[in-house]
């Protein structure tokens, strides 16, 4: 009979192997994709720019998770790239993209390229974990001026460019023409000034006998302090002095204006009215049902509006400004998402080749496919034609689509590029929340936001 007893040596070996496997399995990351040709060395320095893009068997690309509607077109761009180059694109879509990226970079297993955005990019760039792309831009004869200015400026920290613009948000006012007609307003005359917007809303708001809202005009916090501050010629940051400026001038005036609005239409009542209301992409959204008269959004709304509300009579308008002049449209905020290459990425050259392919060479097609704003200026005509073809000639949005692109062309403002961009964004939103709910004055709330953020900024810059 075979001796089936476990020898001491075998047992000890097995026990140690099990322990080691458990540790390694938990610590290890996914294997890096194999390169068919010698990939560029994983480097933390800017790579040589003039060399030909290195091909790779596959690239790992991480994106935010926007849901199937947007993820599928992103995958389609990847498929097209695979067909053209033979390089497989492995996508990973994740809601908590920043947390995932943080742990992956810290663990030394970053993806080849990754989604970032206007808040996340500066924070990551300051931490020194993104590869500067300037040499790649130069080596590809791509200039910053080829892109929408606000989008590319938002990728620049301390003179270096850390991202390539991917998709811009061209946000405009959607308004319900039927509601306008019902309350005696001219459906062809949307608000042009902020005062118009408030006046129209006062006519539109409808309350029941208990004082609860039955129909909304503009929201008391519309369009959000991040946007409104610039409309009042304010700003958030003095980059030269490294000074937080949200508690000065236009930003304070903007919040005071929002506080006035919230006294007309209390935030709590509006929150209760809109709570649980289906979003724009769902059937019976507040806008589609006429309960909410305005929607500040991008052209991607067309899909859901056509699908769920084919009879809705709506119009588009530029975001109202202080005086209603076209010149003030430079105060529009243009923001969106970008793509970066993390330091330590195994195949940075190949990653750049994909980014250039998707977000520069085919930017217009990508914009159309992903229903996002194109960022490459000389492809704007191609992009407009593509969107209009997608919408169709009879679509309600088609004749008004120029409002989106004109907004994109006019807007110059963006969230400041600074080391504590995420914290600042949260603090400004907290200030808005406290002031519009009557817990603080606009000045007090913004003073507090400025104090906290300035301390954080100073500490970050000192460190």
């Amino acid at each position: 009979m075979t001796d089936r007893r476990l020898s001491r040596r075998t047992f000890m070996g097995a026990a140690l192997a099990t322990s080691a496997s458990a540790v390694l399995a938990a610590c290890g990351g996914s294997p890096a994709p194999a390169a068919t040709s010698a990939p560029a060395a994983a480097t933390t320095e800017a790579p040589a720019a003039t060399q030909a893009p290195t091909s790779a068997a596959s690239l790992e690309v991480w994106n935010n998770n926007w849901g199937e509607t947007y993820n599928e077109p992103m995958k389609a761009i990847g498929d097209q790239y695979t067909a053209d180059t033979g390089t497989q694109i492995t996508w990973s879509f994740n809601d908590q993209w920043q947390e995932k990226l943080l742990t992956a970079i810290a663990g030394g297993i970053p993806p080849d390229c990754c989604y970032t955005n206007w808040v996340g990019l500066p924070t990551l760039a300051f931490q020194g974990v993104l590869l500067p792309l300037d040499d790649y831009f130069a080596g590809s004869d791509i200039k910053g001026s080829d892109f929408i200015k606000a989008m590319v400026d938002a990728c620049v920290w301390e003179g270096k460019t850390y991202g390539i613009p991917g998709g811009a948000d061209f946000l405009v006012i959607h308004y319900n023409k039927q509601v306008y007609a019902d309350v005696g307003l001219d459906p062809e005359q949307p608000p042009v000034t902020l005062a118009d917007w408030v006046a129209h809303s006062e006519q539109i708001y409808k309350f029941d006998s208990a004082g609860n809202i039955e129909r909304m005009g503009m929201g008391p916090t519309d369009p959000g302090l991040i946007y409104a501050a610039f409309l009042f010629d304010g700003g958030f940051y003095d980059a030269n002095e490294k000074k937080i400026t949200c508690n000065q001038g236009g930003a304070v005036q903007a919040l005071e204006w929002m506080v006035e609005n919230s006294q007309r239409w209390p935030v709590e009542k509006v929150a209760a009215f809109t709570a649980g209301m289906p979003g724009y992409s769902q059937p019976n959204s507040g806008f589609a049902t006429g309960k909410v008269t305005y929607m500040y959004n991008g052209y991607w709304t067309a899909e859901a509006l056509d699908k769920y509300s084919p009879d809705l009579d709506y119009g588009l308008a530029f975001l109202p400004t202080l005086n209603g002049t076209p010149e003030e449209r430079k105060n529009y905020v243009i923001q969106g998402w970008d793509y970066s290459i993390p330091k330590g990425a195994k195949q940075p050259d190949a990653a750049w080749d994909f980014l250039k392919y998707g977000f520069y060479d085919n930017a217009a097609a990508l914009g159309v496919a992903t229903i996002n704003g194109n960022c490459v200026l000389d492809q704007m005509d191609e992009y407009v034609k593509g969107v209009q073809d997608w919408l169709g000639p009879d679509n309600r949005m088609t004749p008004q689509f120029h409002i989106f692109t004109e907004t994109g062309a006019a807007g110059e403002e963006y969230w400041p590029v600074m080391p504590v961009a995420s914290r600042y964004y949260d603090e400004v939103n907290r200030a808005q929340d406290f002031a519009t709910r009557g817990e603080m004055t606009a000045q007090e709330a913004l003073d507090e936001a400025a104090r906290v953020t300035q301390e954080e900024l100073d500490a970050a810059l000192k460190g």
């Binding site: 990551l124 929150a271 209760a272 649980g276 504590v420 929340d433």
Partner: protein, 299 residues
């Protein structure tokens, strides 16, 4: 130096080898992170850059210059002070009701336990709808009774009570443990009480509750840790709002660690929370001699 016989030494070595997968896991994934976080709490550390020693700066800043730290702590204490006793009273009461010998009791017990197997994320989404001011079940009931609706999660006044109410939905987990405790109480104690002419309330007051105190003690300790690490529901349902009314300690800690990249600062917060929880646990342990009755003990 302690000398062991070869057989004892061999047994010790073999024993350690048998538990080595767990032991290595404990050292690598628990003890090392605990010690590392203690070190990081004295550093400026973003995870992405090397830690820089700052001494007590994180702790000093938390206690003297961070308005959100006391706010998040107060929110958590508020939640703990109400949710904890309410949960214990609710689950004990439920266990007493479900300890009756009636037909179909196992079905009732299953029904009350069911919410515990619902993932926290799914439960949060469900409760967002139940608490919806316009379409939610609770306001529909209130309106049916002719009462005004409550703004629940959209109001800073009601947001925490809403989450406490939601927490009660999960008392079935503790209820099962109390049921086990109730069934462990010897029948002869009730028979003796019957002979003494005790009514139901007197039997509950003088037999059931004293005999159940070890189970209450256990649940209290476990719940104490749970309420101070309250996170998921607030993260999904309110994300700290409105106006920081549901910014719980763990949520603020998470933001510092993963959104603001201040892992050193978050580590300091974690250690402060650890001290608070350990202190409260010690107080409960110390006080247990006065109110926890172990059958068969001389007290």
């Amino acid at each position: 130096m302690l000398r062991m016989r070869p057989s004892v030494r061999r047994d010790l070595r073999n024993g350690l080898l048998f538990i080595s997968p767990w032991l290595v896991g404990l050292i690598v994934f628990t003890i090392y992170p605990i010690l590392a976080s203690f070190y990081f709490s004295f550093t400026d550390y973003s995870v992405l850059k090397s830690p820089r020693w700052v001494g007590l700066e994180n702790y000093v800043h938390l206690f003297t210059n961070d308005a959100l730290f006391p706010k998040s702590l107060t929110n958590t204490l508020y939640y703990a002070a109400i949710a904890l006793p309410l949960g214990i009273v609710g689950s004990v009461a439920l266990a007493l009701l479900l300890n009756k010998k009636i037909t179909g009791m196992s079905i009732y017990r299953t029904i009350f336990y069911l919410p515990n197997i619902v993932p926290a994320v799914a439960m949060s989404v469900l409760w967002i709808w139940l608490l919806n001011p316009n379409y939610g079940l609770f306001n529909s009931i209130l309106k049916g009774l002719g009462l005004p609706g409550i703004p629940w999660l959209t109001s800073p006044t009601w947001s925490k009570p809403s989450l406490i109410l939601m927490g009660l939905w999960g008392i079935g987990g503790s209820m099962v443990i109390y049921l086990a405790g109730l069934q462990d109480i010897p029948d002869h104690l009730y028979e003796a009480a019957d002979l003494d002419g005790a009514n139901s309330w007197q039997k509950t007051r003088n037999v059931t509750l004293p005999m159940l105190t070890p189970t209450i003690f256990f649940n209290l300790i476990m719940s104490l840790v749970g309420v101070f690490s309250y996170f998921t529901q607030a993260f999904i349902m309110t994300n700290g709002g409105p106006i920081d009314s549901t910014l719980f300690y763990m949520l603020y800690l998470y933001r510092n660690a993963f959104i603001y990249f201040k892992m050193g600062y978050a580590s300091a917060m974690a250690w402060i929370l650890f001290v608070i929880v350990v202190s409260l646990t010690l107080v409960v342990f110390r006080s247990s001699g006065r109110w926890v009755y172990y059958g068969g003990s001389s007290n």
